[in-house]
């Protein structure tokens, strides 16, 4: 089983992708972020070191402690600016 990961707005541009699938081997969002941060400085800055990081799991606001289950959709994005 996999988890879907989505990146929006400036994250999509900085990280060079809109989405990807990874094996569902991460217990929490924090564990997933630690893994992704090892891909390079862009990833570390956008996800690990970013105090303004916004997270959603299955379309609900989440945080680093939120658990991830197989089939979940995890999204990372900057603070929102609609309206």
């Amino acid at each position: 089983m996999m988890v879907d990961i989505l990146y929006f707005a400036s994250f999509r541009e900085v990280l060079g992708r809109a989405n990807e699938q990874l094996p569902a081997q991460f217990s929490t969002v924090g564990a997933l972020i630690s893994e992704l941060a090892q891909r390079g400085e862009n990833w570390k800055m956008a996800l690990l070191d970013n105090q303004n990081l916004q997270i959603a799991v299955n379309h609900d606001v989440a945080d680093r402690n939120t658990e991830i289950k197989p089939g979940d959709e995890v999204a990372f994005f900057p603070p929102v600016t609609g309206g």
Binding site: L6, F8, A9, S10, N52, Q54, A56, H59, D60, V61, A75, F77, P78, P79, V80, T81, G82, G83
Partner: protein, 155 residues
């Protein structure tokens, strides 16, 4: 994807008169309708803006807006309400967002429309990108003042 009839995310423009007429249809108990229309400014942060592009998170955006709308109903006993938000490319003077609410009395309608807009700004996953006249692009930063505007509604 779940469909919420009172939430519309669309690329096309909207007509205030038509939308408000639909909002009022079948309600004889409405005494007040308040609407807010957000439009594209030609200046932001001191720079001229040529194009404003709105991105959203399909699925989560609708869910977040519906949650805000229902909270407004709960707090101000609205008879009906509607949120329209456009996405894609827009230009100065274009309409971006419409919030319209209807209630028995005016005070609740005024408060609810204001609340929905303040919450939408900080809780609905939309992102703005500006293109300047020299074709350079930049993402719009979230404003501290928007977060402060949200906080005034804390119970």
């Amino acid at each position: 994807m779940v469909h919420y009839p009172n939430i519309k995310i669309q690329t096309q423009d909207f007509d205030l008169t038509t939308e408000v007429a639909q909002l009022r249809e079948g309600h004889r108990d409405i005494g007040a309708v308040v609407s807010f229309t957000g439009t594209v400014r030609d200046i932001n942060e001191g720079d001229e803006v040529a194009i404003l592009e709105l991105e959203h998170y399909p699925g989560m955006t609708e869910k977040a807006l519906e949650k805000i709308r229902l909270e407004a109903h709960d707090r101000w006993h609205l008879e009906s309400s509607l949120i329209i938000h456009r996405v894609g490319k827009m230009y100065p003077t274009d309409q971006i967002v419409l919030v319209a609410v209807a209630s028995r009395h005016r005070e609740n309608a005024f408060y609810a429309a204001h609340f929905i807009m303040d919450y939408l700004k900080t809780n609905a996953p939309f992102w703005k990108k500006e293109t300047l006249p020299d074709s350079s692009e930049r993402w719009v930063d979230a404003r501290i003042t928007d977060k402060e505007a949200e906080n005034r509604w804390s119970k």
